[in-house]
């Protein structure tokens, strides 16, 4: 069966700095993949290339078989994203933002879909509020509602729960988990919260200096590398990748 996301030998260089160094990986249906790594590891650069807002220097990105370099619009129509650094315009209301982005993503039965999402993300009370006056947690939920508008086959989430309280974060994780499992979508998830990653991800990829150093099940990977927790493994990868014999 065709993979939701298939990345081959992806490379990006800024000036003389290699941000992403020929990485290859896939995301399957029903799968949540964690993209982990320290700041500057290349996670956001990778996500930006998948979103089509950054052109790779080499390599290919296929979304359900569609090469985004050749068929960008239909490929991107199958994705959506939420990122803590990309809030929706604060000068539009929640429903206005969802309407505009619903049209951009070609969502059918848009008014009904907006109602569903406002309910799902507990945003009904903020329907006519400008996004700029919402708390950071509420804005994050609006961003997630936007990310789910088009029932994306590939969902890209860059630290999606960073500004949520623990209870809301857990609900959001459950929502996205259920979505991936029921809708058969793939999710690429970055986070610095290792508890969260262990809880939700089926597989993790550890990035450092633009390369994938480790890959595996977040529940078993620490023990495989002599660490007690995923956080310990993360710190080891970030600080001393050579000690793991993977750099």
């Amino acid at each position: 069966m065709m993979k939701i996301l298939s990345i081959t030998a992806l490379r990006k260089v800024y000036g003389g700095t290699v941000a992403v160094d020929e990485i290859s990986f896939e995301v399957d249906r029903h799968e949540i993949v964690g993209l982990l790594g320290p700041n500057g590891a290349g996670k956001t650069t990778t996500i930006n290339m998948i979103l089509g807002v950054l052109e790779p220097d080499a390599g290919t990105i296929r979304i359900e078989g569609l090469d985004i370099a050749l068929r960008r619009s239909p490929a991107i129509a199958r994705t959506n994203f939420a990122a803590v650094y990309a809030p929706l315009p604060g000068n539009l209301t929640v429903s206005q933002n969802l309407r505009v982005f619903g049209l951009l993503y070609g969502v059918k039965d848009l008014p009904e879909r907006i109602d569903e999402l406002l309910k799902q993300f507990d945003l009904e009370a903020f329907r006519d509020k400008r996004c700029g006056v919402l708390s950071s947690g509420e804005q994050t939920r609006v961003g997630l509602a936007k990310a789910m508008l088009n029932h994306p086959h590939l969902l890209l989430l860059d630290e999606p729960t960073a500004s949520l309280d623990p209870a809301t974060a857990r609900e959001i994780r459950a929502t996205i988990h259920d979505y991936a499992k029921e809708a058969g979508s793939g999710v690429l998830w970055t986070s610095h919260n290792m508890y969260e990653v262990e809880d939700i991800c089926d597989r993790v990829l550890f990035l450092s200096r633009g390369r994938i150093l480790l890959e595996g099940n977040p529940k078993t990977l620490p023990a495989e590398h002599g660490k007690k927790t995923l956080e310990e493994l993360f710190i080891a990868v970030a600080r001393e990748p050579l000690t793991l014999g993977v750099a």
């Binding site: 930006n48 089509g52 807002v53 929706l88 315009p89 000068n91 539009l92 309407r99 982005f101 951009l104």
Partner: protein
């Protein structure tokens, strides 16, 4: 090309204008002041100048057309600046939206927002200063069309400049009409200008429009060839501006500018 996606860009602008008096006010306030100012000036000139010549269609009509051009240009750039000010590029360009749809949306937004200013200008000019557009006859249509096309081309070009050089460069965009106006012969014949300025006038579509406008008022004939040439020039500028916008966009995709666009990310 998807009309729905183009409509989304227009709808965003409609929402913004509808919900904000500070966005509605500039659409008509400055052009209204311009028309009032020039309306009284032309009336005064009519009283002191030799009888027989009516300054209202010559000067006030020219100012009205020039303001129409400015509104069209700024309609495009304002719609683009909304994405700059709300740092919305990542959200917008991570959708299936094509550049042609985005630019098309900016142009339609400009038509929508310009209509407000044009309507106010016409009401004041006609009701208060007895400007009759009928005096221009059918030539009013090509005059408006050329100015519209040139306004669109400068709006798209200005947006591309800001995309390329960052938000701070928007201050280079606002004075563009003022920089062009001396060469365009809005208020005086191009023959008044020194030779080197006339060379520049020849490549500016509005100069043909205002020469034509004066010819109509003085009872002369408008050169159809000159007007057609100005239309071709304006159409050519639109193609050039669109080419430049797509080139800047491709550059922004290669450098990561779209994803990191902010005042701090550019010099």
């Amino acid at each position: 090309m998807s009309l729905r996606r183009t409509f989304a860009i227009v709808l965003r602008q409609v929402y913004l204008i509808r919900g904000s008096f500070s966005r509605v006010f500039p659409l008509f306030a400055w052009v209204a002041i311009d028309i009032v100012l020039w309306g009284f000036l032309t009336h005064y000139l009519n009283t002191v100048a030799s009888p027989g010549f009516n300054f209202v269609p010559a000067l006030l009509g020219a100012v009205l057309l020039w303001d129409f051009f400015i509104r069209i240009m700024q309609g495009v750039t304002m719609a683009f600046f909304e994405d700059v000010w709300s740092r919305n590029f990542l959200n917008i360009f991570a959708t299936p939206l094509l550049i042609s749809e985005y630019v098309g949306g900016l142009v339609l937004s400009s038509i929508f927002s310009s209509l407000i200013g044009v309507a106010v200008m016409l009401v004041i000019a006609v009701a208060c200063f007895k400007l009759s557009l009928l005096i221009y006859g059918a030539m009013a249509i090509p005059f408006l069309l050329v100015l519209f096309l040139f306004g669109i081309s400068l709006g798209v070009f200005g947006s591309a400049l800001v995309l390329r050089f960052g938000p701070a460069s928007e201050w280079f965009i606002w004075p563009i009409p003022a920089l062009i106006s001396p060469f365009a012969g809005v208020l005086y014949p191009v023959s008044t200008l020194p030779e080197w300025m006339r060379h520049i006038s020849r490549i500016l579509p509005p100069s043909y429009v205002f020469e034509g406008l004066r010819a109509v008022i003085s009872g002369g004939t408008v050169s159809g060839v000159a007007l057609a040439w100005s239309g071709c020039l304006a159409g050519g500028y639109i193609l050039l501006a669109y080419w430049y916008f797509t080139r800047v966009y491709r550059h922004a995709l290669r450098t990561g500018l779209i994803a990191r666009y902010s005042a701090e990310s550019l010099s």
